[in-house]
Amino acid sequence: MIPLTYFLILSAILFVLGAIAFFIKKDLITQFMSVEIMFNAANLAFLTFAKSTGSLDGQIIVFFVITVAAAEAAVGLAIILLLYRQKKTIKTEDIQSMKG
């Protein structure tokens, strides 16, 4: 059997990679996608613990996380579309109207 620590290490690496991607990228859509990567990393961790404790609650949580992430993706993309229509750009640097 695979030692569960490997899964956890993988989850941590994925999470950090997602975070780095968020900070490196300049366009909104890719930043959004990196957030999805972070979600997946978290899901991986949940399932690892579910298997470790032997209870199914972790899997249920992952189920809900996936569902909610789907809903959130829909709305988030709608907002990005609206932003693009307004500002004609998806470069994050140009969206600073909340300054101050």
Binding site: T5, L8, A19, A21, I24, I60, I66, L81
Partner: protein, 165 residues
């Protein structure tokens, strides 16, 4: 066998994410992400969660990424955007990354049950999941359905073109 599968899937996953980071084109980013999600689905399967693995591939790699690709196509940028160029941000990012990985690993490791890997085989069968869903987690289940409807309606309302009267 399982070990080999694990390392294969893990490598492909990390490779896809790295590719997403390096690539400048949004369409390529989306495709790389699909690969990453499929691998993750496989990893879920390795963790005795077949149902969740199926859900992951159907919803994440299937529905969500399709949404992303639609939006990428609608925005239709000619050229991609370059990632950060300044040197100090890269170093900073590497340091932050290292620190974060270290912390996360340490935290998570400490939370593992001392039993190590468990031996329950039929852990994530749909029957058991379904039973839990409809008894213990009934309320979240119902509320999530309302949430999805809200998101649906919200997304459509947001993007609707205003009629210029």
């Amino acid at each position: 066998m399982a070990q080999f599968l694990f390392f294969l899937l893990a490598t492909i996953c990390i490779g896809a994410v790295l590719g997403m980071i390096i690539s400048k084109d949004q369409a390529y980013n989306a495709l790389f992400l699909i690969v990453a999600f499929v691998c993750t689905g496989g990893l879920f399967g390795l963790l005795d969660a077949p149902f969740i693995a199926a859900v992951q591939i159907i919803i994440y790699a299937g529905a969500i990424m399709i949404l992303f690709i639609f939006v990428v196509m609608m925005i239709n940028l000619r050229k991609g955007l370059e990632p950060e160029k300044k040197k100090w941000t890269l170093y900073f990012a590497v340091i932050v990354a290292a620190v974060l990985v270290l912390e996360l690993v340490l935290t998570l490791k400490g939370a593992l049950e001392p039993a190590g890997s468990s031996t329950v085989a039929e852990l994530g069968s749909p029957t058991d999941l379904g039973r839990l869903l409809f008894t213990k987690y009934l309320y979240p289940f119902e509320i999530t359905s309302i949430l999805i409807i809200a998101a649906l309606v919200g997304a459509i309302v947001l993007v609707k073109k205003r009629d210029k009267a």
